[in-house]
């Protein structure tokens, strides 16, 4: 597998996800809809794995199964060889080893940014309150969020909110961060800023990233690998290694290699998007 190096050394050694023959059939009113069809995928520990596919292709279903929000019909999902869900256990338990960063942002608007960041450890109660808040302040400062601790999420920009949400996830020292198209609603300039900030956070924290997107540029810029998904039912159509070395910055976007990979993959993604369009699939 891609053994690319982080700024500070090796990739995380935890957080490998193995998806084995996963099938998910929704059954609304007896009309079975196959969302995920015999999907197999290995995400090595410490990698940024970008799942690319048209809207509504079933990639979020896969993420929800890993996170434990939905059950699967058959197959199995493992995290570091531990069964999350599979035979006899159709639904995984949600847990702070796999934290989701949500599409619309899910910071609690009734808690200050600091309280949001401290939320996970406070719920688990394994550390003293003072230690938790110290750690939260420090992590926020590291992510350039000092000064916003006592603000409510509604008072800061949407870009900063996304950053707070990632820090809130990292507070739990998760093995995996699951991103569900978190930058979907942002304009392309803000997006670029967010991408660099995300990479910076990734270089500082050893974590595996499972990132869902329909934005190919975002996928190539961030990912070690692209997993291009077929339109519903969803399964990997092609896996592409992005052999642009990390750490990366925005200059990657104009590099020849970036353009080559773009050229190589764009057709595949558009093909699937067309299929999805013709099938009249809904957003989601």
């Amino acid at each position: 597998m891609s053994a690319m190096m982080n700024e500070k050394g090796a990739l995380a050694d935890k957080g490998a996800i193995r998806i084995e023959d996963v099938v998910k059939i929704y059954d609304p009113d007896g009309a079975a809809v196959i969302a995920v069809d015999h999907c197999n995928l290995d995400v090595p520990a410490g990698e940024i794995c970008m799942i690319v596919g048209p809207s509504g292709c079933g990639k979020t279903t896969l993420l929800n199964a890993i996170a434990g929000f939905h059950d699967i019909t058959s197959g199995a999902i493992y995290l570091d060889d531990e069964l999350l869900c599979g035979p006899g256990k159709p639904k995984a338990e949600p847990g702070s080893d796999r934290v989701v960063v949500f599409q619309n942002g899910a910071l609690f608007p009734w808690k200050t940014n600091l309280e949001n960041v401290a939320f996970g450890p406070l719920m688990k109660g394994e550390m003293s309150k003072a230690d938790i808040y110290d750690k939260a302040r420090k992590m926020m400062a590291d992510a350039g969020l000092d000064g916003t601790e006592n603000n409510y999420p509604g008072e800061i920009s949407s870009g900063l909110r996304r950053r707070v949400e990632i820090v809130r996830a990292l507070m739990n020292e998760p093995k995996v961060l699951l991103f569900d198209e978190p930058y979907r609603a942002l304009d392309s300039l803000t997006k670029s800023v967010m991408h660099e900030a995300l990479l910076e956070i990734y270089y500082k924290n050893k974590v595996t990233i499972f990132f869902i997107t329909h934005d190919l540029e975002e996928a190539i810029f961030l990912g070690h690998r692209l997993v291009i998904m077929t339109s519903r039912p969803c399964k990997p159509k092609k896996i592409v290694e992005v052999d642009i070395p990390h750490p990366r910055d925005y200059s990657v976007l104009t590099s020849p290699r970036f353009k080559e990979i773009m050229a190589e993959t764009k057709g595949l993604v558009i093909e699937e998007a067309k299929k999805a369009f013709e099938a009249g699939e809904k957003e989601g």
């Binding site: 702070s96 934290v99 608007p109 009734w110 509604g154």
Partner: protein, 284 residues
């Protein structure tokens, strides 16, 4: 990001100062002036048919502020405050009881689908029964004149509070509960940290409605069964043909009803700082 110290009080002062700077107060004066002059002209000057037997503006005014009121009730008579006090006490009992029972019931109705299956159909049958239809049963069920009135007042408030609280729980975006779970919160912690604060805006909308309908049903109750209170004042004034007292009772209800609503809103602002700040930012 400048830190806004927003207490309910300073928020109220801010509202007042903004209000004074806007054209609203002057429009308000014009509105009042219009209604009062219509009253004055139609009753006392033009003596329109059916209007001539109504108490006139000057008559009510002099009665209201008379140290020796002709019909027995003015701002200088202790009786006046006794009626207000007793109505307020009934409102307080009924409103507090409705809040203490209605909010938890609404939260559980929203939280547990199973609980809702049991209770909600029952609730939906009882809710449309007008409060006036409860009057005979209330008098049969409860002894004395005090408890039936409080019961009727409570009932209307209770339905408003419960229903709005339940809608509040329904309104919470699923991403918030999911986020709580994947940050390691238990069911109970999610209920405390997400469900309760998340439904707060709806709960306070419910309480605003609740205090309004409380006055409504209080007066209905006092007219039928009661020996004191503003509803009793109005009803007795009618049967005793002391018409100006009717108007005094009505104006008092309007003013006190407005004050109690404003108090509920202030408590809401105090408990939902996050919302106040968001709205304050939105207004800028």
């Amino acid at each position: 990001m400048e830190k806004l110290e927003t207490t309910a009080w300073s928020m109220a002062m801010y509202r007042v100062s903004m209000w004074l700077k806007s054209p609203k107060p002057y429009l308000m004066v014009i509105g009042f002036g219009f209604v009062l002059s219509f009253w004055y002209l139609s009753v006392e000057i033009f003596k329109l048919p059916r209007f001539e037997s109504m108490p006139g503006l000057t008559e009510v005014w002099t009665e209201y502020w008379s140290k020796d009121p002709y019909y027995g009730l003015s701002v200088y008579t202790p009786e006046y405050y006794k009626h207000i006090g007793i109505s307020l006490r009934r409102i307080a009992y009924a409103f507090l009881l409705a809040t203490v029972l209605g909010v938890p019931l609404g939260l559980f109705l929203g939280w547990s689908k199973k609980f809702r299956e049991y209770i909600f159909p029952l609730f939906e049958i009882f809710r449309p029964i007008p409060i006036l239809a409860w009057v005979p049963l209330a008098i049969i069920m409860f002894s004395g004149s005090e408890t039936p009135v409080i019961f009727l007042t409570f009932l209307a408030s209770f339905f408003a509070t419960t229903l709005n609280t339940m809608l509040g729980v329904d309104s919470i975006d699923e991403e918030y509960t999911r986020a709580a779970y994947c940050l390691g919160a238990s069911d109970w912690q999610t209920f405390r940290q997400v469900i309760i604060p998340g439904s707060m805006p709806y709960i306070f909308t419910g309480l605003q409605i609740s205090i309004g309908v409380a006055w409504f049903s209080l007066v209905a109750g006092e007219m039928v069964s009661g020996q004191y209170g503003l509803g009793y004042v109005i009803n007795t004034a009618y049967t005793m043909v002391t018409y100006p007292t009717i108007i005094i009772g009505m104006i008092t209800l309007g003013v006190i009803g407005y004050i109690t609503s404003a108090m509920v809103r202030m408590v809401g602002d105090y408990m939902m700082q996050w919302r106040v700040r968001e709205l304050a930012l939105g207004a800028n």
